[in-house]
Every structure is written in C-alpha cells, then in structure tokens.
Symmetry: D2
Subunit: 363 residues, 4 copies
Amino acid sequence: MKNTFGNSFSVTIAGESHGSGITVIIDGVQPGIAINEKEISDSLALRRPTGSFSTGRIETDDFSVTSGVFENRTTGTPVCIFIKNSNVRSCDYDRNLIRPGHADYTARLRYHGFEDYRGGGHFSGRITAGICAAGAVASKILAEKGIQIVSRIKKCAGIYDTEISSTVSSEIVGILSGKSFPVLDETAGDKMKIEIEKAASSGDSVGGIAETFVFGLEGGIGEPFFDSVESVLSHAVFSVPGVKGIEFGGGFSLADMRGSEANDGLYSDVDGNVYSVTNNSGGILGGITNGMPIVFSTAIKPTPSISTPQDTVRITDGFPQNAKISVRGRHDPCIVHRAVHVINAVTAIALLDLYQSRFGYEK
Amino acid sequence: MKNTFGNSFSVTIAGESHGSGITVIIDGVQPGIAINEKEISDSLALRRPTGSFSTGRIETDDFSVTSGVFENRTTGTPVCIFIKNSNVRSCDYDRNLIRPGHADYTARLRYHGFEDYRGGGHFSGRITAGICAAGAVASKILAEKGIQIVSRIKKCAGIYDTEISSTVSSEIVGILSGKSFPVLDETAGDKMKIEIEKAASSGDSVGGIAETFVFGLEGGIGEPFFDSVESVLSHAVFSVPGVKGIEFGGGFSLADMRGSEANDGLYSDVDGNVYSVTNNSGGILGGITNGMPIVFSTAIKPTPSISTPQDTVRITDGFPQNAKISVRGRHDPCIVHRAVHVINAVTAIALLDLYQSRFGYEK
Amino acid sequence: MKNTFGNSFSVTIAGESHGSGITVIIDGVQPGIAINEKEISDSLALRRPTGSFSTGRIETDDFSVTSGVFENRTTGTPVCIFIKNSNVRSCDYDRNLIRPGHADYTARLRYHGFEDYRGGGHFSGRITAGICAAGAVASKILAEKGIQIVSRIKKCAGIYDTEISSTVSSEIVGILSGKSFPVLDETAGDKMKIEIEKAASSGDSVGGIAETFVFGLEGGIGEPFFDSVESVLSHAVFSVPGVKGIEFGGGFSLADMRGSEANDGLYSDVDGNVYSVTNNSGGILGGITNGMPIVFSTAIKPTPSISTPQDTVRITDGFPQNAKISVRGRHDPCIVHRAVHVINAVTAIALLDLYQSRFGYEK
Amino acid sequence: MKNTFGNSFSVTIAGESHGSGITVIIDGVQPGIAINEKEISDSLALRRPTGSFSTGRIETDDFSVTSGVFENRTTGTPVCIFIKNSNVRSCDYDRNLIRPGHADYTARLRYHGFEDYRGGGHFSGRITAGICAAGAVASKILAEKGIQIVSRIKKCAGIYDTEISSTVSSEIVGILSGKSFPVLDETAGDKMKIEIEKAASSGDSVGGIAETFVFGLEGGIGEPFFDSVESVLSHAVFSVPGVKGIEFGGGFSLADMRGSEANDGLYSDVDGNVYSVTNNSGGILGGITNGMPIVFSTAIKPTPSISTPQDTVRITDGFPQNAKISVRGRHDPCIVHRAVHVINAVTAIALLDLYQSRFGYEK
C-alpha cells in the first residue's frame, strides 16, 4: 500500500523535505484516548537534530492536529497531524547531479524526473517526523495496555554500548526512555559522539546498530505465516531510511549455534507462568509472541551525504555522464541516534496493528 | 492478511503437516503463461528432504493443479494447487509436551489448544511446499521478463562458501540453479554436509546463512516508504520458518563503515547505462531498485527438533509443569539447504507483486 | 483483491465450472468453533439446482475439508474446502460463439482467449458453491453470537410475495430458514414456480428480487466512509452473478419521500433500549448499524442462457462476425431461488468481517 | 480500510465538519500529470451549496496542496490537499438530542460519546469536499486516457428528467459537464427546484435519483468475483452520505424482464468493433466492462435535517428518554444536486483504481 501501513491501526504519510509540510493520517484509533499535544511534541523532539553531531537545519516541528481529537481525546475517527516545514535551503541541491547512497537515481527511474528533488523530496528523513507523530499516538495506546517500547544505540562508529542479557529486564525502560542519545553506558555514548564528530570533521559519516526492546506484550500476538511478528515488524522497520538489516533475538549469531544452544529452554513458576531461560528467539516463535521481551537489532548505514568527493553521474537532457560530487549543505554525520526514535515509532505502530487485529479496537 | 501475501500478485496458503494436504491459491496471474507441471514438480523436488542430512520423512509431493490452468496455459483466473500429504506419523507427537524452539507454546496461546498439534500443524515447514508451488509460477513469469533468482548457502554449521564480489555477475545463475544443496565451492559444501551429519549423530542440529541474488530486474521498482523493496522482501522472507535475520547488500557490516566507504560510487558507460562500482546497497536505494543485482542474506536458525534432552514444560489441564523433552521422530538436522529454495520462492512472489503493482498484469 | 474478500475474516475462491473443482480458503476463523460437515453440506444443498424450475445438471457437491478443522473444531488457521465438480458436459459449449448476457465477451477482453470457456469457466455460478461453503462457516460463528440472516424471494417473474413491515420481526427466521424456495406466502411461491416453468417451456427465463434480513446484530458495527455497512455488503453482494441492483431499507422509494416521511423517528423503552418507529434506513445510518434489523433488496436478472435465438457475434481468428445463437444445454430458467442462498452466504461473510474488525477474533 | 479507498490508486480522508479542516491524501498517482489548482477548485465549487435550494452555510473551500505536486505536475508521491473549514456555527447543535436520519445515535454506539458531534463531525457531508478534491485528480488522469464521467439528476422531488436510451451517446457529456444542477431538460430542472423550495418552506426536504454515465473506458476492466466493477463502484458510491440504493443498467427493472428482453444482443461493425443493441447490462458483464457506456443510478434519501418536529430520544447521563426535535440551523432541503458531484468523484477514483490494477501506473 505504498504510503499506508497497517490494517486495523493504519498510518498514511505524505510530504516532502522542502514542501509546505508533512501530513500523517492515523486511522483505527480507539476512541477516548487522552492525547496531550505535549506527547506528540516530545516524540518529535527526540527525532529532531541535536548537538554538534547532527545537521545544522533547525526543525521547529510546529504541528497541528487537524482532526480526530476532540476535547483532548481521540474521537475514533481519523487523527490527522500536519507538521509545517521551515528553515529549508533548496539552493543547496543540484537537480541533475546524482548523490551516491541517496535515492536520487532510483527516484528518477521511478518518477521520470517529476519527483521533487529538493532535499531528497519524499525520500527525505524529514518525512519520518510524520511517522514519529503517529508513533506517539500508538505508544500512548500501548502504554495504557502496559506495553512499553525502548531502543538503545547498541553500536555506533564501531563503539559498543554495554552487553546485556537476552532475557533483558524492563528496568532499562526507565534508563533509556526520553533520552535523545540513548545508551546504557554513558561513557560508551561519549566515545560514540567523539567518533561522530571526528568523522564529521573529516567530511565523512558513520553508521551503527540500534537495539529495540518491547516489554509487556502478551503472548499469542502475530500470525503463523505472512503476518508473522518478524514479517510485520521488519516491513515497518525497513521503511525507516538508512536501515539495511534486521535480526530478531540471536539473529545472525544463531546461524553458528547448534540447536541445543539456540533453543530457549522453558520453565514454569508456581503460578503457572511460563518463561524461557534464554531469549534467542527474541520473544517470537512461529511468528507469534511468547510473552518474553521482544528484542531486535537494526543496522543503520552511515549518512550518504558527505563532503568527501565521490564518483557519480550528472544527467543532462536525460543522458548520464561521469562526474564528481562533494555534497554540500547541512547534513547529519550520523543518523543512528535519530533513527532509533523512528524505529520506536514504527515498532509501536506495527505492534498495535497486530494487537488490534486480534483483539479489535475496544480492549 | 495472515495467510495471504501480495496485492497485485497474491498467494494464499492453507494446510497442516499431518492433515490431508496443502492448498495454495495464486491470484493476479497473467493469462497465457505456459505452465508445465514439471516446473512445479521440480520446484517442489528442490525443497524436499534429500540425503542423510535431511529428515527421513519421504514426501512424494503428489500435487494437482485444480484450477487456473487450461490447455497448459494460465487462464488469468486463480491458479489452485493441492499437494497431498503422505507418510505422516502422528504418533511421534505428544500434545502437551512443549517442544522448545518450536511454535507449540505460542500456538497454544494464540489458538487456545484447538490447533492441530501433529507435526507442528499449520506451523510446519511442510506448508512451504505450497509456497514453493506458487514460487514456481512466479518464477516462470519473471523468467519471461528476463528476471532470475538464485540462492546459495553462504555459510552452514560455521563453514563458509567462497566469498564473492558485491557486484556479482549473473554467471552464478548457471552454477547454482537446480542444485539441491547450492554452493559455489563444492569442497566447502562437502565440509558443510560432514558437519551436518556430525551434529545429527550427536543428537543435535545446525543453522546457517542463505544468500540470494536477483538479476535482470530493472530499476524503478518499489516504493519510498512502507512498500520499500526491503520492506516487502523482508516481510515475505520472515514468513519462512526458521529465519531470524535479513540484511541487504552490506547489511550489518555497513554499521561499521564510514559514508565514503559505504556509498556506492556511480559511473556510466558509453550507451548511458548507469552502474555502481560497489553494491553495498544490495541493488536498492530509497526502497527502490537501481538496476544492480539485488543481494540479501538470511540467517536461518538450527532446527529446533533435537534428541538432546532439553528443559521444557508439560501442560496438563491447562497448567504448565517443568519437564524434560528429547524430541523423537524423523527430523532434519539442518534446514538451510531446504530453506534456500523457499526463500527463492518468496522472493519471486514478492518481486513479481511489486513489479505488477507498477506495470500491471499485461506486460 | 480480485478473488479474496474481507480483511479480518477473509475468503479466497478458485475454480471453474468444468475444471476439477472449486476451492475456498477461509482465514481469520475463530478457533474452537464446532463445525459439522452437515452444516456445510446443508448450505451447499440449498444452493443446488432443484425441481423442474432448475437446470438438469446434477451437482452432488462432494466436498472435503482439507485443513483448518481438527477434532471437529476450527483450529484458527485457514479452513480449506474443496468441492469436486462432476456431471460436466463441456460439449455443449462453442468457444467462439459469444453468449449474450454472459461474460463470454468480457472474459475474452480481459484474458485474451486464454480463459476456460467451458460452462462459463471461472464466471460460472458454480463457483458460488465455494462461497456457500464459506458462508456456512461464517453463519455458524454469527449464530453463536445470536446473529441470524435469512432471505426471501420478494418478487419473481412479476409475482410478489407478501408485503411486510420495515421493522420486521425475527419470527420470519423460523419461517424462511432452510427453505430451498423461500417465500412467506406459499401460494405466491407456487405462482412464481408456474411462471418460471412457463418461461422455460417457451425457451426463455425470468428474474426477480431477493430480500435479506439480519437480526441480532448489535449497533455500532461499520465505518463512516469507505467501509460503511452498505459499502461492504454491496461489494459482497455484487460478487454474486446476476445481481444488478441493491437497495437498503426504503432504498429507491426514499427518492420520492419527504424527509419527514423518510426519517425513522426514535423512541426508548423503560430499559433504555432505543428503537425506531419505522426502518427506512434498513438498520444502517452513517454507514453504521443502529441495532434495528438490517434489510436490503437485491435485483437479480433473468438467466442469460435461453434457447430463444439471439443476435450475437462469432469470433473467428480474432475477428468478430455477426451471428445467431440459441443456447443449448441444461440451464436454469431462473436463478433467483438459488441466488438467495448465495446472498445469505456473502452477507454472513461481510458482516462477520465487519464485526471482527471492531471486536477481533476472540469474542 | 475504514477511511482509505483503493489499492493501486488510493484515497485517505480525515476531518470533521466543525474542526479545522478536511485532509485528503491521494496515493498511486502517475507522475507528470499537470494539475491546475483551478481544476480542483472547480470540482469543489460544484459540490458547494448554491442558490436558495441549498444550505445557507457559505463554504469558501480555501484549500492548499501540501505535497505531491511540484512545478505544477504530480510527482508520483502522495498528493495531500487540505481544505480549511470556515463559517461554522457549532451552537446550533445539541450534543444529547439525537437527530433522526442522521448518524448521531450510531456514532455514539460506535465511539461511546467521544465523537465530535458538532455538525455531524466526521459523518458530515462536509468531508466529501476531500473526496471531490481527490476526484478532480482522478478525473484528470482518466481524461488523459479519453475516459469521461458525468451524472445527471434523473429524478428529484418526484420530477423526472428526460428519458434516454440505455446506449446513451457521449454527446451528453458536453451538456452536463460543469453544471451545478445537471439535468438534460432544463424545464424539468426548474420544476425540481420549485419543489425543493416548496419542501423547504414547509420545513421539509426531498430526495432523488442520480444517474451516472462513463464513456471511453475500454472493455476488460474489472474482476470476475469480489472486485467486479459493480462491487467496486457500489462500495465507493455507498460511501457518499445519503445514498441508499444503486442499480446498474436495467437494474431493478431487469427483475421483471424475461431473458430474451434483458439480454443485450451483439453486433459487429466492419472494423470488427463489437457493440450491443441495448445496454441493459450497464456496460458490465461478469463484473468486467464490455466497452459500452457504464450506466448506473443511485437513490439519494431526503436530507434528514428538517425543522418539522420529529420523535426522538435525548440521552442524559447515558440514558435515553423520549423527546421531540425540530432541527434548526442552516440545512440543505435537498442534497441530490450536490451529491451527483460527489458520485462523479468516487466513480473516477474507483474506476482509476481498477484501471491501474490492470495496467499499472505507467500507461
């Protein structure tokens, strides 16, 4: 469905980086949810560029909720949020000079040159502001059911955050929530920031790995085949610009394990609750949640906009010729710390959709 | 959509491991495609267990095309294929003893004990026979457009196949096509098989990594956000039982690169064709194909059915109690070499769906 | 979605009139529903041709439930039913001679001559056997919630059944259920049958109007715009071959009323239940049920297969030439009494889908 | 999909009558289509209340295209249009007094009182401004393919417009296009207006029948079963508030015909083009277009807002009590002449979606 995600809880986005703004329509919203503009605003703030390791473009994210909220509660009919663009500098962009690592060339193949090329147009990370707004609504509804989602930067510019157990405790929610550069070990975080700035000062950029945790989601959510939790989450997560890999639980490391090591042994407590000793499955077996925390990691590539000169093509009158490019303008030397918040948003959207598919809107 | 995948080209599956058989309905099929029963049969044969490193269950895969093909050509209306089950031994299964690493426990949470537990029921890899039949139809249609999909076992039981360039040539199609244990280096393949048998003889199992290549798909396929090629492919691939990770192009290794290394530089030949020097993007930028080969890797966990004793729970009268299990019966010590063919099938289905979404049925 | 209907409860059909059989896959089925093969068989029996006012083709409707039912209860995974074709006489059909009023010509435009032309192929009323099987499953689930659907022949061959109040009582369920030629006034029904036989003996056919009633469906089901109850029901009902019109409640007669007459006044009883004095809305306002009976009427055209000679074209080597046709073979002079059962089936499917969209699978 | 319609070409709407405005997102738009703001503005103008036979609310329909159009052409990414609300008078509405014939009561059942009740909220005809804006885009794309859609008021307040042949010529496009009160016979139109005013002056309202014609759509569009052209069109048309019936071609009158009369005989011209002598099928057979004009009629109920006193309930503290209502405020005594333009819009959206489903975006 192109720019719409979800069946029961669904999100539709529109907008371009340098157009008038970003629109998101959220449908399938339970009526009566208290929605505070501050909650949306906080979600947008986390995604916004901050500090010297982010782009110089100042996004104020002025938004208005144009429908679906009445007397500070959701009505049950579509919530629409419009986020105004500002501080755009379109002169930085050369229409015909393809930026490597960006969607410039593929957009041209898809839209025949009619696409809005300024700032990446509809391919810009800017559009994820709409996703974050929708994520704030989804997270609020999930929170009322006791479901919490947090992410951390597991690795950035080659620096790892602390290692943690696969059966991770929900205590990390308190540590990570609301942080704009979420790590468990702040010393590691500081090292990451230094590396980001180092790359930036040499006209380059870095990537990293985000790790996401979901607590409080009951077992029995998801479907055996095409709507497995992994299928639906990965579908949503690969919508986030820059993501090139995802793994659930043990992920790629499971390829090297033997079954006796990979299988999560089970045990039961006196109340009849069932747990697993390890959590290599990442909380999902047969596409369905088992009640353990959902854990997955996401690979985020380095920002493609770098001032270091690169080989590329310039397309003049439809014909490409070899050229050099040095991307100017205000760019993030790293998007990992911004992407984690977008990953939280799409995770909330995807899981709420699966939840409502089973239980409906009313619960 | 639970057991249906695809919008323009869509596949719906039904069936259980120990029921009467597997049904697949394929809709959105271009009329007039010559469909040879042998093509379907060959696709099913590749997925079937073979050799001492596979389960002892003999699947003959007797199938019948019950609709949608007339005078050996597709009619354009739904193709239905029924694959009969045979050689089932339900006595091997204990309803209340949860097998770790399987969907036994999550199925119970989802279906309240009404699920067919025999042989994993609807969660069984057996259901992928239907997916392979649909994949044969999709592959045939793609082949007529010059699009080819192959996979290899990149790694199994810790043994790597030969390393290859990210701008891989389509010559590997000839090498890998039709192989039941597809590797580029047969010596590496032999070592893998030895390791599989070793694990099997110690009552254990192994996992691995599949690598998939798509050649001949033009640029401009896919959508910027929720239907990015990565989103749609990962959605399909995580439907394959045992898959726990996916990465496109450089994937997780991109997290450690700098932008100047990760970006694929572009160049143009005299005819105005554009190529990239490297292919870290895996043929996809901004969710849209760029005309380079699509390359992605998939992590497959070790088969959970092992005879080595494991901790688990037995659920008696709805109440779980700690127990031990040693999974008996005829099981694969490795499913990597079988899963690669299912991955080819879902890749064909997903890409044809994206292709038809842009160009319709007629081309 | 072409041959799939429904989001939460969905039905996919495949098959042709003279192929090996009809397949239906039903997904989104609540687990644990007792499904009696007799219930499916009874539903199929009602649709089957009966008496001298139906086709001479004897359909035995041998079917098998090939998945999704285990120990006589639904498992929650897809139910698949295969209905074998038999007693086909393909020799009656001339490939190139277009039958007026049938889909012969439009199928050719759509499928370029690759369609299975025998007996109308995938356009045949025969395919509705699969819909009836799915309807039996949907009706069973609805019945457990106290929701009942019946239809009557309101008019056939110009003869009307008894007039009834728009606030119709559920007592008619007992009168109409299980009847193969459902009318409230058997004398009117006998007159209809005589007219059908008269038309048949003169080589002609007749049409009629079905009227459908739904009792026990609570208010609050449906959506304001694109998934209004009227939208979803009409979508489903126009899938039934031969249907050319639908009206809800007062329908076309509302066009001539004044607002003061058309509006259904409301009143409340001592328990706070709200009713309407009249039911011109047919139980639906703003696309959402109000708790009154849903009432709608469906126009069914006369069977197009008639032996009376008609003007048509014969397409030879792709070129049409004027010709005459007199349709031979075994045909229904009227399908109204068969279509009513298919309308019940699609009504059950559509309403259960809307119900589950709001409340999920579990209730 | 609640507030989203369409698969290939899709429209998502949000907004309330007395909120800040109406938003529509249009996806699946072919890139490079010249979109003139005047075309959207003209489409909105036709829907707007005009003359003494319409509501006194002055809607200026200030709108802005916030995305998807760049340098006056569609980009291929989502088009978003925001239409500002103005001239709202919320004081006219009493939250607890249910207006008969409106969605007040059903909205409460669906949204538990959290709905925006002012002016009907999301159920208001005001939301159709968004549909008309989307229809303008769809109509433009269809027009470039030579496909034209017009509607007329076939009957209003009991007065009929001229009768026309079922094989209607496309000459009527010129006569009806752009008219705010479209009839073929202006004398009949004047009589209708007099009746509307008469009803208005007696505190009442009237309904009518719209008739819609589609010219230039090739044969072969649509699907045999669940996406028959009738299914998809009726789904769309029943989204228009006030519509209670639809019939294609001969519609309900076919119920009284014999097959020999109802069947449209075929003939071929010297160039091999095939036509039908009559057009009782309304251009659709077996759910697929046959190349003849598509013709369908839609029943529109009288506006429910009338000043004549009616029986109703007042819901105080969740408990309904019998009451009387006389709807005050500025209301249309007839919406038929406004609804025809909305019907044109949804027809364009639905047919373009079916068209693109077959041929893709590129043609």
